[in-house]
Amino acid sequence: MTARVGVVTFPGSLDDGDAARAVRLAGAEPVRLWHADPQLHGVDAVVLPGGFSHGDYLRCGAIARFAAVMETIVDAARAGLPVLGICNGFQILCEAHLLPGALTRNQHLHFRNRDQVLRIESAGTAWTNAFQPGQEVLIPVKNGEGCYVADDATLDQLEAEGRVVARYVGNPNGSQRDIAAITNSAGNVVGIMPHPEHAVEELTGPSLDGLGFFTSALKHLVETAA
């Protein structure tokens, strides 16, 4: 049976269309979810896409965190539902306390928009099992508030538990310890600042490396169902 992967649209989401397309290209059925609808409609995994939910008012992701759908997603994520937060989705996951730390204004204050090399540090998550540890991938980054910060104890814990999922090779925003992506302790929730959904087709992306994040989730679903 084809896996069903939900893609949430918040007011101000931009990349929900691309995320749904990436899900389809990876071989799953994208299911569009709406922020004000608490139902997950039986999806097997969820993507929180990039964009500027609620205009980034107050703090990025601070208001989206209280969306009706997020209450359901937080509970489901704690029960093991694979959740990928991309860019604004990563910010929402931090605001919802599913992931530690916070994403702050880029240190140089400039919006950064470029193709970015990442090094996959952990292939043990639901969203990165298609990669090898140490593998370098090329994926677009585009953010103004992508600087990952956490206190030293949290950073040390993330490193010790292998929860740094990807690092920048050439830090675009000042993120502490070059962190581009992290995961929760169970490995089912991943937040990533760059945009794998923009690297799934030769016509529009710099590589096809982004597909691996989505095929990883499908592989994870098959393995956990078996």
Binding site: R59, E95, A102, T104, N106, H108, L109, V149, A150
Partner: protein, 87 residues
């Protein structure tokens, strides 16, 4: 009705690039004796009834500030301190 004022500031250990950018612009105004600038956010809350500081604390902790990176203080506005927005 008096308002409650919430001030949200980045924690001291969190880098404030906005504040740094402002500090770096000051010499162009001829100001050279400023050691540092930090930028925060001030929120004024008007309750329908009596101001509720406990509820304000909850609002600030859950929504207005991100405790990972920010601290907040709350207080009642003093007489004449706040001005109603123009309709």
């Amino acid at each position: 009705m008096p308002r409650v004022v919430v001030d949200v500031m980045l924690k001291p250990e969190i880098l404030d690039p906005q504040g740094q950018a402002v500090a770096n612009a000051l010499p162009r105004l001829g100001v050279t004796d400023v050691a540092s600038v930090r930028i925060g956010r001030r929120i004024e809350i008007e309750f329908a009834g009596e101001p509720d500081l406990n509820q304000t604390r909850e609002i600030a902790d859950k929504l207005l500030a991100n405790p990972v990176i920010e601290d907040f203080t709350i207080r009642l506005a003093e007489d004449g301190e706040t001005v109603d927005a123009q309709p």
